[in-house]
Amino acid sequence: MSATAEGYRQSGYVVEGGRRDRGRLRALWQRRGLLWSFTLRELQVRYRQAALGFAWALLQPAALTLITTLVFHTFLRIDVGGFPYPVFVFTGLVAWTFFHTAVSGAVPTLVNNAGLVRKIWFPREALPLATVLAVGLDLLAALVCWLVVLLAFDVPLTLHLLWTVPLLAILVAFTTACALLGAAINVRFRDVKHALPLVLQVFFFATPIVYPFTLVPEAWRHVAALNPLTAVVAGLRAASLHGQAPDLAVTAIGAAVAAVLLVLSYASFTRADRRFADIV
């Protein structure tokens, strides 16, 4: 009898008309195996029949480093405070590549898995989250690569490099928020498919990746600081190249924006979730 009661608690459910289901985070935790399965599927499918395999994860930021160095350093001679431009830009591109790949990969997941969403119940947030996790593995590889580049260019590493951890937390939180929000909106409005590359491009240039934050006019800096990627990129450079703590105000604003956005996007995702199967 108690076994039955236990089983019911674990897997039974009550659905009521007009009510939101509660305990979504707990349901997701109980189904963490599913999150891992989706992540594994993504990795398996991505690298099967791809001759270069995992190297693609590093080729993208490497290629972007080359192009931007050519354009902004060799042609435009942008002043980045005396640091070698490839190191300067690669530091930003490590964070940017993660954000870009994760968001553009996560946004279409619900629509791409429409057959699944329409036929079986599961915590749907597992789909965009799995993409973020899978791309997170690329981020780890890129970070190792970044350390090698820093050492290769004789950048003295200090304890301030530990700032990387909280900065990456901001990056992951903001990326997850954008992934959830984009995936949910994409179910309702297929415009997202057309708008997303444009929005990402705007973000790329609005974030101090190819130029230093100090080049942003004073009057615009508080606006630029609202973009959590600004805090991440500027912070990573301070912690590595400058060997000092990141600008605390900019970092705090970035962290706050990312945290609020994460909570809001998760709440709206689980709200919109009720209609996914009907409209996807």
């Binding site: 459910y13 009521e16 195996g33 599913l34 399965s37 594994l40 599927r41 079986i120 415009d191």
Partner: protein, 250 residues
């Protein structure tokens, strides 16, 4: 009733017909600006439907296309919520609504068992432990490490069925899926469904295969325009449904 494995109480659900369910932002903006409402009459897919399925019972659902059978299954499976009413499911649910919906063509049979099984709510450890039993039931020895895109329709269906019933569900939803396999496979499926029933699983069985409903089910009910219009012994419900169909075509 109080402890039924599936209890559906006064569930209603409407769909908006004609309205593009998804669309472009422009459509929505146009509607907002013009103040117009969504075009098309709403369809009452479910209208105050109540039913209960006890442990160890197979209940058949028959009815014309569009009568609400699939919506009923989706509401029970919590794929889509009812507008009003309440659904209680006691115990792990597994569904044969579309066999192999969670399969990815590029992955092997083995990888798909782990993927599909975890979508159905099984743990990966449990799945790995029972991989042999699943492979045996599906009759896929030697093919389990082949990508499923190279599977025949029958192999695909067998593997999907094997994973879904392997879950040892307390509640099983079956929707018109067993028609894809050959005769031998269908027999094996029915046998497995009866075995689950004997073990106390509650089964909701939706089918146009009226002889199968009569043979397999303990009770049956007929849906028409979202309402339960008839219920009782499966032979009687099937006979009445046939009679109604003939009366209409005359």
């Amino acid at each position: 009733m109080a402890n039924a494995a599936i209890a559906v109480q006064d569930c209603s659900k409407r769909y908006q017909r004609g309205a593009a369910a998804y669309g472009s932002l422009r459509d929505t903006l146009t509607r907002l600006v013009r103040g117009g409402r969504v075009p098309g009459e709403p369809v009452q897919a479910l209208d105050e439907v109540s039913l209960a399925v006890e442990q160890g019972e197979i209940v058949g659902v028959v009815g014309d296309n569009g009568a609400g059978k699939s919506t009923l299954l989706k509401v029970v499976a919590r794929i889509t919520p009812p507008d009003s009413g309440r659904v209680v499911v006691r115990g792990r649910l597994s569904s044969l609504i579309e066999i192999g919906a969670g399969f990815h063509p590029e992955l092997t049979g083995r990888e798909n068992v782990l993927l599909h099984g975890s979508i159905l709510g099984l743990t990966r450890r449990d799945l790995r432990a029972s991989l042999g039993a699943i492979t045996d039931f599906a009759g896929l020895d030697g093919a389990i490490d082949t990508p499923v895109k190279y599977f025949s329709t029958g192999m695909y269906a067998r593997l999907g069925f094997a994973v879904a019933v392997h879950a040892d569900p307390r509640v099983l939803l079956v929707d018109e899926v067993l028609s894809v396999g050959d005769l031998g496979f269908r027999e094996a499926c029915y046998e497995r469904i009866r075995a689950l029933q004997a073990g106390g699983t509650a089964i909701l069985f939706v089918s146009h295969d009226l002889p199968a409903v009569a043979a397999l089910c303990d009770r049956a009910l007929r849906l028409a325009a979202g309402r339960v219009v008839d219920q009782g012994a499966p032979e009687a419900v099937v006979a009445a449904y046939r009679a109604a169909g003939e009366a209409e075509s005359r």
